[in-house]
Symmetry: none
Subunit: 415 residues, 2 copies
């Protein structure tokens, strides 16, 4: 089956947003075994959108449109798609109810009239509930072709695709695509790829594709077969081979598990409690740990100690340490990690201190210099990093490297 993407929105044509939806949808379609030869972006213009949909339906079996489903006047995707398909719009009581429910749940005081436009659907369309917004998704089927309409915001599009669209597409494509993921941390992309270049050269079925994430590399191993059992048999030896090569750098083989979740499990299994003390990351480290539901079993509090005074008053960093070595030093990182753990009676303490930029750098301590401290079982270590990129990239890098250092400390001790 051939699938094609059309992204709708003048903000894309003006370059005001980067079209991450196209990359996401393309990757997911490839995993479902669908072929994709065309992506296009069109503004909020009925005539050009009509032409684009018409052309796409001629050359592809499935056309996925994203964006232009909202309540405002320039949202034209549904109306135009219905026109191309020759369908009229009718009110969908279920969608109307869902929209009313949405506004009730957020206790909206005013629901403007234009919102009800979102409950009008092309006759016969399959309606897909939107759990994260008001515009429902729609599937229109005619003459063996499918037109799929999705809301533009990624936080609405991605969950909807995962929950309802992927299962719909997978029953259209008879071959089964199965994939598993091996996630490694604490190793660079090029080094990781070099370590398996022989496997990449040989690949046919299963295929192996590396995806770099900040501080992590995910290898997705994908097999195509008539049924799931055969596909899984093709995948298994490759998963074992990767585990063998990357050893304890592999933090999970579960598609859904994140690095912070794997660390939550590690802490929980060992009955450990963690406290954080953040300077340059300013809350983002704790924020990432709290991504994990139920994390309060292992994480109950953290400190943001952005100033020297806060480092001293809240977690007992010594005045002499700050004066002699400075706030950005291995000594301060260590005292922060140990201090926050002892203050709260936690077994583990984790700290960040560094120069996130753009200002504040010197020859001796340049922008990007970050120290991460980890206190565990009476020992405290600090590690030095030199991160590249802007303020946001330096801070995100500090967060992921702190998680990796924490993981290493606990695993190292267990040996």
């Amino acid at each position: 089956m051939v699938v094609e993407l059309i992204s709708v929105g003048t903000e894309i044509l003006l370059g005001n947003i980067v079209n991450t939806n196209a990359a996401y949808l393309s990757r997911e379609c490839a995993l479902l075994g669908l072929s994709l030869y065309h992506q296009s972006s069109i503004g909020d213009n009925e005539e050009r959108l009509y032409e684009a949909i018409e052309r796409a339906l001629k050359r592809s079996d499935i056309v996925i449109l994203s964006g232009g489903l909202g309540p405002t006047k320039d949202d034209l995707t549904k109306e135009t798609a219905a026109k191309v398909m020759g369908l009229s719009l009718v009110e969908d009581p279920h969608s109307k109810e869902q929209i009313a429910e949405y506004f009730k749940q957020i206790h909206a005081k005013v629901v403007t009239e234009n919102n009800w436009k979102q409950s009008m659907i092309p006759e016969g369309a399959i309606v897909i509930d939107n759990d994260n917004g008001t515009a429902p998704g729609l599937i229109l089927e005619k003459d063996g072709k499918s037109l799929i309409l999705l809301p533009g915001p990624p936080r609405e599009l991605i969950p909807m695709f995962q929950k309802d669209i992927a299962p719909y597409l997978s029953q259209l494509e008879p071959d089964m695509i199965v994939s598993e993921t091996v996630k490694v941390c604490g190793i660079g992309e090029s080094q990781a790829e070099t370590m398996i270049s022989d496997l990449i050269d040989e690949q046919s079925n299963p295929t192996i594709a590396p995806y770099a994430k900040l501080g992590e590399v995910h290898f997705r191993i994908t097999a195509k077969a008539k049924d799931e059992v055969i596909a899984r048999k093709l995948i298994l030896p490759m998963v074992e081979e990767l585990k063998n090569r990357f050893k304890e750098k592999v933090y999970t083989t579960l598609e859904e598990e994140t690095l912070e979740e794997s660390i939550y499990h590690l802490l929980k299994d060992k009955g450990l409690k963690l406290t954080t003390a953040e300077s340059c990351s300013g809350g983002l480290l704790a924020g990432r740990i709290v991504n994990v539901p139920g994390v309060s079993e292992v994480f109950q509090q953290g400190f943001i100690t952005y100033s020297n005074a806060a480092k001293r008053n809240l977690i007992g960093v010594k005045k002499s340490t700050l004066e002699e070595f400075g706030a950005v030093s291995p000594q301060t990182a260590k005292e922060m990690a140990k201090g926050c753990a002892l203050t709260m009676g936690s077994e583990v303490g984790l700290s960040t201190t560094g120069i996130a930029g753009p200002g504040g750098g010197t020859d001796e301590k340049p922008v990007g210099l970050v120290y991460i401290g980890c206190y565990y079982k009476g020992k405290t270590i600090a590690k030095e990093f030199h991160f590249q990129g802007n303020r946001s990239k330096v801070r995100d890098s500090a967060v992921v490297q702190a998680l990796i250092l924490l993981r290493e400390c606990i695993l190292e001790d267990a040996k």
Copy 2:
């Protein structure tokens, strides 16, 4: 003049890379006053690329292709573009010299034969030197149309565009495009648009376009004119009109200023210091505030009090309050806000407590229920929110609404 973009490369269709070139080129073309109605992405396939170029040349004056200029077999852009234009390839001695020079400078030991393919150019083409790679850019002109070929890697494409392509395009397009942004917070997209629907209906020059962000709406006002002074004169009355309608909901008219930056300026101007105490947002609120460089003047520390014990021990929330009303209650939100400020001697305290999900909800206190507390000048208030969406969306919503509440408290007091 109408310009159109074609991005070439199978890696885009597989979703292995996000197409940031399209966003960059679109934004630059808009600033040059060019109209852009189509973006498309095509794989490394001669037939489909030929069709795409042919169609683009029919409907647009200028077609910019990026990618597929490299030395390997699947790089087909130049060959295919020449074919569509009816031009044959000839060797360009200047390009050959440039490629040899490039390899000399990077101290390359081996120069593979396929590299010389990059010195073949369509006859009559304008050659654009590539300062950051080996494949030169090319401009092909015929029958009043221009076909511009750029290398795919952004670190080659962007400098080449800035140095040579932007000046070339600007002499083709005499008009100038100028835009300004009015950013409002604390109002929904549909309500915001309803408040200016008359302006949207009337628009021609300047145009006005709303963009929704979590908790915010940005209005971009764009004018086209012979010179910048005239364009700015067209924009100014519209900016004033929006400020007039949205009043104190407007937090900035600076394109680059974020909500957290505007709050940083507000606190700094009034000589106020802020402390945060976070439960459900778990550090993300402080993390967002610390996005602002130099923020330590107004923000020096924060608390993550995820457990009840942390709420009591660190910031003095009363045991009786937690027992009687629960951790997720207006009473607890207020004591957190006041407690964190008093503990640290700050003038302002800001707190979040809620049920981010997916578990932990009850009929009385469902997932998405969040209380935000703000302490300022001896007064403490708490506001109740019911957010929709997954754990991540609830937490991000809590962060932005906390910033908005803080802003409202300070502005309200100033009245």
